[in-house]
Amino acid sequence: MTAPLLTTDDLTVRFGGHVAVDAVTCAFHAGELTAIVGPNGAGKTTYFNLISGQIPASAGRVTLNGQDISTASVSTRTKAGIGRAFQMTNLFPDLTVLENVRLVVQAKAGRGFNLWSMVTGHADLIDQAEDILARVRLLEERNQIVSELSHGNQRKLEVALLIALDPLIYMFDEPTAGMSVDEAPVVLDLIADLKAQSDRTVLLVEHKMDVIRTLADRIIVLHNGALAADGAPAEVMASDIVQEAYMGRGLEGVLDHV
């Protein structure tokens, strides 16, 4: 098998006494879509935070393409190819939709430190940004101020920013939460496309089982911060740990009976 694109070795973080991520060792390969599941508070978002550098690890290492990036800053990791969308919508609220995406494209193009040219002179960046908005079907809203978007559209924009960044590692944290059934497929199709691009790795945190079933190549389960299972979807979904801790054994039918 080829060398993994991203690995975490014994990655650990403690908040006071609480071990939120507990020595997680895992490798992710190009062209693979891994779903990360686990109960609320299992440490999924925190695991993402450690990979993208938002919080420093208490112990352990993160390597990208064989390079140790454990101590690198968030922006350095982003430039190196780690990109993520956030679970809690996290945008530039007073700027327009287009400007949000344009800023990402501009960062990607490395033109941020251009002090003496006019923004309007960089028409190519604007075109790129509009392309991406078209892909997530937000083009019509491009001149709207972000804080005035509905929740669902903000979630879409969150995804658009990540796509604009076009990193090696895509990390989605519950991308479709709060998206209506007719909107969610737009985003899910985009994710499926990414997977098809064989040189990218996608990590997906998601609670909707149907989504995981259709998209995931592999599932890892976090439980109380530790890696509890890792393997092919069908096998992992059937495992005790998932059935008990995640789906809630004895509760499967509840929804149908209340």
Partner: protein
């Protein structure tokens, strides 16, 4: 649309929204919403993103103000009274963004939510059963909770005291299946205690399982209302109203 009266529950509705129009800045968001929430049942409010579901709930609690139309709660006109008074009249609210006080601990969030006095320990136990992490993180800052834990806290806050009507905006987003089930249980308990619930939900499975009546919105209006079972049993209707294409679980 007027077949609401025959939805199986008795008496006049606890909440009547009569033709409200709500603007946000220069945008006309709600354009004549009519909605009745019967006493003692779960009423679902469904629809695609951006059609005005959240705006409707916010108009009820008074965060946005309807400039036309009336909102009657338990027979009283609450269209223009201050939010705090609306809440004290017996409304519990779970906002879409959860409205967690991030710098307060879980405990402090709950203490605040118990408006009329100290927390009732029995009720708290009941909440802990539904949402165990709240017990574990009782003294942590709420801002540090995981996404799902925040959602639990938000719902728990609304449930800490008995309310006549709960307004709940997308409670299941970000919750693991096991928790969704227990939450559904908790909401059912509420209903059994005689409370009424008006709930926005994108997860159709949950809507189907919990809802007694349903209302579908589009473009700032309610375009369909009726029994939840009727909607659940009619895929073409779903397709027409909400663009549902994926098979509901």
């Amino acid at each position: 649309m007027s077949d609401l009266a025959q939805t199986g529950t008795t008496g006049d509705p606890i909440l009547r929204i009569e033709g409200i129009y709500t603007n946000i800045a220069q945008y006309h968001i709600l354009q004549g919403v009519d909605l009745h929430v019967p006493r003692g049942g779960v009423t679902m409010l469904l629809g695609r993103n951006g059609v005005g579901k959240t705006t409707t709930l916010r108009s009820v609690i008074g965060h946005w103000r309807a400039h036309r139309g009336r909102i009657l709660f338990d027979g009283d006109d609450i269209t223009r009274i201050p939010t705090a008074n609306i809440a004290r009249a017996g409304l519990g609210f779970v906002p879409e963004d959860m409205g967690i006080f991030a710098d307060l601990t879980v405990e402090e969030n709950m203490v605040l939510a118990a408006v009329s006095g100290p927390i009732d320990p029995a009720r708290l136990d009941w909440i802990f059963q539904a949402f165990p992490p709240l017990k574990t993180f009782w003294t942590s800052e709420a801002g540090n909770l995981s996404g799902g834990q925040k959602q639990m806290l938000s719902i728990a806050r609304a449930m800490i005291e008995e309310r006549k009507l709960y307004l709940i905006d997308e409670p299941t987003k970000g919750l693991a299946p096991a928790i969704i089930s227990t939450m559904a249980r908790a909401l059912k308990d509420l209903k059994d205690q005689g409370a009424s619930i008006l709930m926005v939900e994108q997860n159709f499975a949950v809507a189907k399982a919990l809802g007694d009546t349903a209302n579908v919105m589009d473009d700032g209006r309610v375009i369909w209302s009726g029994e939840m079972a009727e909607l659940a049993g009619d895929p073409t209707l779903q397709e027409r109203l909400m663009g549902l294409s994926m098979e509901a679980k």
